[in-house]
């Protein structure tokens, strides 16, 4: 098997751990941190396939993913600060009234 398989499995594991954190944790900041772990898994995958195909498009995509991650961190954390100022807690359950 080519070496890309091991990297893809590592990326899948990081993605899954991030997904667990995103779904199971209640602290808003940890939820955003978990999405960043998922980004790391995706970046590993993109770099591995970029190398596998001897093509640099994967690395270019990974750079754009970094841009998206920065945008997400800025906006998401701004919203978290706003929500914290309103309820004085980081608990996501405090906003369960939005469930409708």
């Amino acid at each position: 098997m080519p070496s890309v398989g091991a990297y893809v499995i590592l990326g899948a594991i990081l993605f899954a751990i991030g997904l667990v954190g995103f779904l199971a944790r209640r602290n808003l900041i940890i939820i955003f941190l978990s999405t960043e772990i998922m980004f790391q898994g995706v970046v590993i995958n993109l770099a591995a396939f970029s190398r596998f195909h001897h093509h640099l498009e994967g690395q270019a995509f990974a750079l754009f993913i970094l841009v998206i991650a920065a945008v997400e961190a800025g906006l998401g954390l701004g919203l978290v600060v706003l929500l914290f100022r309103r309820k004085r807690t980081l608990d996501a359950e405090a906003w369960s009234a939005m469930r409708g």
């Binding site: 091991a6 499995i9 990081l14 993605f15 770099a47 001897h54 991650a69 920065a70 919203l79």
Partner: protein, 264 residues
């Protein structure tokens, strides 16, 4: 042969899921130690499996195993640590591991960008927000997970699907043009437009830059506009005045605090 490998892989994923479930923070303390031990056992099993069945050709093979194991362990700690500041520190370890793994895959520029952007900018933002939004130590939001069993089931089934499908695909003989990983130099010569003086000059970073500002130039501009919009939006959000609401039970009305005294 590949099927048995896939089943061993699924088994290891299941063990890892159990470990993650045990390590999830619980109000009554939880089983963090045993979860960590089972998780380490699963990671060691994974390393042995990959070392025996996958061919990691590049020279930094041991480095891949060590860094991959450390990255998985630290990612698990990010998700399960009850104190957010430690989560941020563990996440920084994950970022550094991933950066070195990118260097192993000849993505040097990407690795440096990852460290600069994540460790330099994004994580500092997280640390600042953590300091701004101080809540009481050991708040319920940190020590009680929300439906951890369901979350782990969903995530690990997805992971098994991805990994199983990938190992199935890769078990098939690779297409001819991908057969040799060492044929990189041939395609590099085809891709690089200007004939560089020596091989060191025509590095991946140079070609990546040429590609970014040639083929993807519109995307680069769009990314810049997106960053600008996000910056303006973040400032607008952060400056907004909000009324403070109380959570939990409403405070008791004045005059009803303290013990009840029968009327004289």
């Amino acid at each position: 042969m590949p099927e048995s490998i896939a089943y061993i892989l699924y088994g290891l994923f299941a063990v890892g899921g159990i470990a993650l479930y045990l390590a999830m923070p619980r109000p009554e303390g939880g089983y963090g130690k045993s979860g960590a031990l089972i998780g380490l056992a699963a990671i060691v099993g994974l390393v042995v499996l990959i070392a025996s069945s996958f061919e990691v050709i590049e020279p930094g093979r041991e480095l891949f195993y060590i860094l991959g194991a450390v990255a998985i362990f630290c990612a698990g700690r990010v998700v399960t640590h009850p104190r957010p500041v430690y989560s941020v520190v563990y996440f920084m370890a994950v970022v550094f591991c991933v950066a070195v793994l990118l260097v192993l895959q000849q993505a040097e520029f990407l690795a440096v960008a990852l460290v600069l952007i994540y460790a330099g900018a994004i994580l500092v933002t997280y640390a600042f927000v953590l300091m701004l939004a101080q809540q009481a130590l050991g708040a319920l939001a940190d020590i009680k997970a929300r439906e951890p069993l369901l979350a782990i089931l969903v995530s690990f089934v997805a992971m098994g699907a991805i990994a199983g499908r990938v190992s199935e695909l890769l078990a098939a003989p690779p297409p001819v043009e991908h057969q040799s990983m060492l044929a990189a130099d041939k395609t590099a010569e085809l891709d690089a437009p200007p004939p560089a003086q020596d091989r060191e000059e025509a590095s991946d970073t140079l070609r990546l830059g040429e590609q970014l500002f040639g083929k993807f130039v519109v995307t680069v501009e769009l990314a810049g506009v997106l960053l600008l919009v996000a910056m303006v939006g973040a400032i607008a959000i952060a400056r907004k005045q909000v009324p403070v609401e109380h959570v939990g039970p409403p405070p008791p009305p004045p005059g009803r605090i303290g013990r009840e005294v029968p009327p004289f």
